[in-house]
């Protein structure tokens, strides 16, 4: 086995760690509950995991900021240590592993060879393709080449974060590195997108756990995100929603409305069009989420969120080109030009109409003269 550890089933590794069967079932039930799975899935998950060998997981970091991994390390259910010591075999992760240089690259190659066709490939960061992939290299190989090779033997690919899912910030206009999401490069493997900047830690671990325990890709939405976590919008589940329905909106971040917890819609909250579990699972072990802390949702789990105008422009604003261009000015430009063109057409139409009228009157006069 890579890194020299023996192949243990999840059940055996838990037993060695002193975790009882009851404790393990409780853990699986809690995880199933977080993922909004049916109640019987907890027991089924526990049974499956107990007899299954710990699946190999390879975590590759490309064009990213490590924020997603920082988020993952703050998972409460399951915790990152419980996940990597008991449930999965994390065979490569350049942030956590002690090995470096050739030893690390050899570990990656070994894990890919030994677990070919069975490992879960986790990708963090977008994949730059500009300049022959030179914007992101590790061990002398470009990210795009590493991804293509690693994807060949993967049972599934889990894209952690908006960068690997949708391109994220590197993909934003003008995309100087030619960055792409994983789905643009790998087309023949099951891909699960766990978007967010960063994603909620429990959503990352929950998705991984669901896949390794059932061996199946969970139900996904049209952006390949697990419906269990991305099925609702932030707005649907927001505790400030009643204020939206009552028409009570904070006008600034420090006014009385904001202090009373009124809706942040007018301050640019993107909750109505953002699918994520922030309002239900929340962050830091369920402590709060950005809206609860007084700031609107940025829509970070949606494709192209960085190019959708100002974070502080209300969701209902009309989009007039790139972010930062004052909308009223653009509206006046477009409307003014159209009114001028319409007025010119109007003058021309009236002129034609008058000409026809004049000719018709002249014809009538001529006829009268002839008859007379």
């Amino acid at each position: 086995m890579p890194l020299g550890h023996e192949e243990l089933t999840v059940g055996e590794s838990l037993r060695r760690a002193g975790i009882s069967r009851r404790g393990f079932i409780k853990f699986c039930t809690a995880t199933a509950s977080v993922m909004a799975l049916p109640p019987w899935m907890g027991a089924a998950m526990a049974e499956q995991l107990r007899h299954a060998p710990r699946p190999s997981v390879l975590y590759l970091s490309f064009q990213e900021c490590t924020g997603c991994f920082e988020s993952l390390t703050r998972s409460f259910a399951p915790t990152i240590e419980s996940l990597i010591f008991n449930v999965i075999s994390l065979d490569y992760d350049d942030t956590l592993m002690a090995a470096a240089g050739d030893a690390a690259e050899t570990a990656l190659a070994n894990a890919m060879k030994v677990n070919f066709g069975k490992y879960v490939l986790v990708i963090d960061g977008s994949v730059p393709t500009g300049a022959g992939g030179a914007y992101c290299t590790a061990g002398g190989r470009s990210a795009v080449d590493t991804l293509r090779e690693a994807a060949k033997g993967a049972a599934a690919i889990v894209c952690v974060g908006t960068c690997s899912s949708f391109g994220g910030i590197p993909f934003a206009d003008p995309n100087p590195t030619g960055a792409w999401p994983v789905t643009a490069i790998v087309e023949d493997k099951p891909i699960i997108n766990v978007s967010g900047c960063p994603p909620i830690p429990e959503v990352i671990t929950g998705t991984l756990l669901q896949f390794v325990s059932t061996g199946k890709v969970p139900d996904l939405d049209e952006h390949r995100r697990p419906k269990a976590f991305f099925g609702n919008t932030i707005h649907d589940r927001c505790y400030r929603r009643p204020f939206y329905d009552e028409g009570k909106f904070a006008k600034s971040f420090d006014d009385e409305g904001a202090r009373n917890g009124w809706c942040l819609y007018e301050l640019g909250c993107k909750g109505p069009t953002t699918h994520n579990a922030c309002a239900t699972i929340k962050w830091n072990g369920g402590t709060s989420f950005p809206i609860e802390s007084g700031h609107g949702c940025l829509g970070c789990s949606e494709p192209g969120f960085w190019d959708k105008g100002s974070f502080y422009a209300a969701q209902a604003s009309a989009e007039w080109g790139k972010a930062g261009t004052p909308s009223p000015l653009r509206a006046l430009e477009v409307g003014g030009a159209a009114v001028a063109a319409g007025a010119a057409l109007g003058v021309a139409s009236a002129g034609v109409s008058r000409l026809r009228q004049h000719r018709s009157e002249q014809d009538a006069a001529d006829r009268q003269q002839k008859e007379g």
Partner: protein
């Protein structure tokens, strides 16, 4: 670019351009048409026939006492759904913000739940209006494609707006995209169909009233 981005980006921009161009075209063309000079001696002073024009705007906006039993219900229906449309379009906070982003001006709105109730009532009235148009033989004879299409496109905007608010049928952003696209379609149709009455109705009443007052008639 997804449907929502398209609907409120390039599609909205094109629709507003067509709307402005069409409205300006029709108003200017109408205003510059030659009016046949009336050779008769005016029966009233300039001031009187101008006042007659203004009075007609008011008098024609209310049912005549003699016909109130026959036309009152229809006029009440018409006024009610116009008021409903006014409230939904101009007093719903997301609409105010949308218009504010275009013109830089905002005003207070009504609670969203109240707007939903008004929308449902307006929809009901709109259905009643169509029923009346279809069942009344005279109105049916007077109606053409323009009437039905103008009704349909206004109804479409109301229905898609309600669906977006209530999240019925699809994801919110898809519904919102469809709603804004329906508004785009309405803006494109507006100058070329009977919806243009919004601009013509009062000037045409005033002109008719003034011409009649010049001849010494009251209306």
């Amino acid at each position: 670019m997804n449907l929502l981005d398209f609907a409120r980006g390039p599609a909205l921009k094109a629709a507003i351009a067509v709307f402005c161009l069409g409205v300006a075209w029709r108003i200017i063309a109408f205003a510059l048409l030659r009016i046949r000079f009336d050779l008769n001696k005016p029966r009233a002073s300039v001031f009187k026939y101008m006042a007659g024009g203004l009075l007609t705007v008011g008098s024609r906006s209310w049912p005549h006492r003699e016909f109130i039993g026959r036309t009152g219900a229809g006029e009440a229906l018409g006024y009610s759904y116009h008021l409903g449309l006014f409230a939904v379009v101009l007093l719903f906070t997301p609409h105010i913000l949308f218009l504010g982003s275009l013109f830089g001006l905002t005003w207070p709105g009504l609670p969203s739940s109240l707007i939903t109730v008004i929308s449902v009532l307006t929809l009901t009235l709109f259905t009643a209006v169509l029923f009346r148009r279809v069942t009344n033989p005279v109105m049916r004879m007077l109606s053409n494609f323009d009437d039905y299409f103008s009704w349909f496109i206004t109804m479409l905007v109301l229905v898609t707006g309600l669906a977006a608010t209530a999240h019925i049928g699809a994801q919110y952003e898809t519904l919102l995209g469809i709603h804004i696209l329906s508004v785009d379609a309405l803006l494109v149709w507006f100058p070329f169909g009977k919806l243009m009455h919004a601009f013509y109705i009062f000037p045409s009443r005033a002109i008719n009233g003034a011409l009649l007052a010049r001849k010494g008639a009251t209306s």
